[in-house]
């Protein structure tokens, strides 16, 4: 995992389908910090995360990832390589078993982590062999958490990571985020719920 010292968002403006969603967003998150992104439905939390990840081009403004090694990354495609992502959907292939999905993620990220161990950690060991089509909403979300771990990226961008998770799952998610930041990672979490973590809060107001 490359080491990141700061995520800096400067004068970020977002337009979708020709509509301005938000403008002149400014914040910075340092290594080891969690930041929650809050705001009303439609305020642009998911859009902001997509922009930071490099999935969506911004209308104007900058996103810079300052690396511990000294240089800064601001190109979208390069940001993408530093991002661990958990969106509204989990990128799980219904026809593959839970384990096949996890093995694919591991191979894709070139992860050197033990896949069975990760599945155990997110509580999917018992059902590793069943087709993912049969997963309940929360089980699928847990597979998303497994992918996040396997991706081994310094910047985590999580879009409502707690949704569908049961109480134990929520604790697990919070724990994972906490550990990630303790290891020097950064997490930006869009959520309407409390994470149960010591986090900076950023409000996206209506425009």
């Amino acid at each position: 995992m490359a080491i990141l010292s700061l995520v800096e968002v400067e004068n970020l403006t977002c337009e979708r389908a020709g509509r301005r969603v938000f403008r002149n967003l400014n914040f910075a998150v340092a290594s080891g910090q969690v930041m929650t992104l809050e705001g009303a439905n439609g305020a642009g939390k998911s859009s902001a995360l997509r922009i930071i990840a490099g999935l969506l081009p911004q209308a104007s403004g900058d996103v810079r990832l300052k690396m511990a090694a000294g240089y800064a990354v601001s190109d979208g495609d390069e940001r993408a390589r530093l991002t661990g992502w958990m969106g509204h959907t989990d990128g799980v292939k219904a026809q593959l078993t839970v384990e096949e999905n996890a093995l694919f993620f591991a191979a894709l990220y070139g992860a050197r982590i033990n896949v069975a161990g990760v599945l155990d950690h997110v509580g999917l060991k018992r059902i590793a062999g069943i087709p993912s089509q049969y997963l309940s909403a929360g089980q699928r979300r847990r597979l998303g958490l497994a992918r996040l771990i396997l991706s081994n990226r310094p910047l985590w961008l999580l879009d409502e990571p707690l949704s569908s998770l049961d109480a134990a799952g929520r604790r697990l998610a919070a724990e994972l985020i906490g550990e990630h930041c303790d290891d020097g990672g950064i997490a930006i979490v869009a959520t309407h719920e409390t994470l149960g973590l010591d986090a900076a809060r950023f409000f996206l107001g209506p425009q």
Binding site: A17, G18, R19, R20
Partner: protein, 241 residues
């Protein structure tokens, strides 16, 4: 100066409102002269008789079909690379015009083919077939614009399609040289100068210029409408923001 002036849709609207009446007038005058000259003041061809007059409709239409597509592909490239907002508008507005000219070329060509080749249509003739494909590429391009309702995304997708489809254009033009076709080889745009008789060449050139102005006029009109529609749309969307 020109580019920056045009980059602003509002300036473009002002400019095109002053220019478009002139293009319209030029189109009417040139097409009037061209039609009169080609229909009544040219001799019948010694081989083709009166049916040669179809040429004055067919050849400019065929050229416009190809020319407009090239323009569209160029505009698409500009739109993709330089994100010039008017480039997308121009490409989108040009497509139905290009499709219409291409359809006209196909129609007049096959009407001409009946007396000349004894058939309306010849499958397997490279020029005819590639021209038909060009029409379908136009239709696909238009359909793609219509199918995506986010104009930003639609513009990019359509631009990629226009560039990919551009491969057909040289095939159409060179098909007569590459394959043995019914269709005659280039007689005007060729190395070594035109081989066509002056009596036909001059009115034909007038028609071609006339068609071009007709196209420009319609293009400006369509671009104006498109810009206004986009404005209306963004007003509507802004209300929801």
């Amino acid at each position: 100066m020109m580019i920056t002036a045009l980059a602003n849709p509002k300036r473009f609207l002002d400019l095109s409102r002053t220019v478009s009446p002139w293009t319209c007038a030029l189109a009417v005058i040139l097409l009037g002269i061209g039609f009169y000259w080609s229909l009544f003041a040219t001799p019948p061809d010694y081989q083709q008789g009166q049916s040669v007059k179809i040429m004055f409709v067919h050849v400019p239409a065929a050229w416009m079909g190809i020319f407009i597509y090239s323009m569209m592909a160029g505009a698409s490239l500009v739109g993709l690379v330089f994100r010039h907002p008017l480039a997308d508008v121009a490409a989108k507005s040009a497509a139905p015009l290009g499709a219409a000219f291409t359809a006209l070329a196909l129609l007049t060509g096959s009407l001409w083919g009946r007396p000349m080749w004894g058939t309306y249509w010849q499958w397997g003739d490279a020029r005819l077939v590639s021209e038909l494909i060009l029409l379908f590429i136009y239709l696909g391009y238009i359909a793609l614009w219509n199918a995506i309702d986010d104009p930003v995304r639609a513009a990019k997708a359509a631009a990629v399609l226009a560039l990919v489809g551009a491969a057909d254009v040289p095939v159409i033009h060179f098909s007569v040289d590459w394959w043995n076709t019914l269709h005659q080889p280039a007689s005007i745009l060729r190395l070594g100068g035109p081989t066509i008789d002056k009596a036909f060449l001059v009115p034909l050139l007038i028609m071609i210029v006339g068609y071009t102005f007709l196209f420009l006029w319609l293009l400006l009109l369509r671009m104006q409408t498109e810009i206004l529609e986009r404005r209306a749309r963004s007003l509507m969307m802004a209300r929801g923001a």
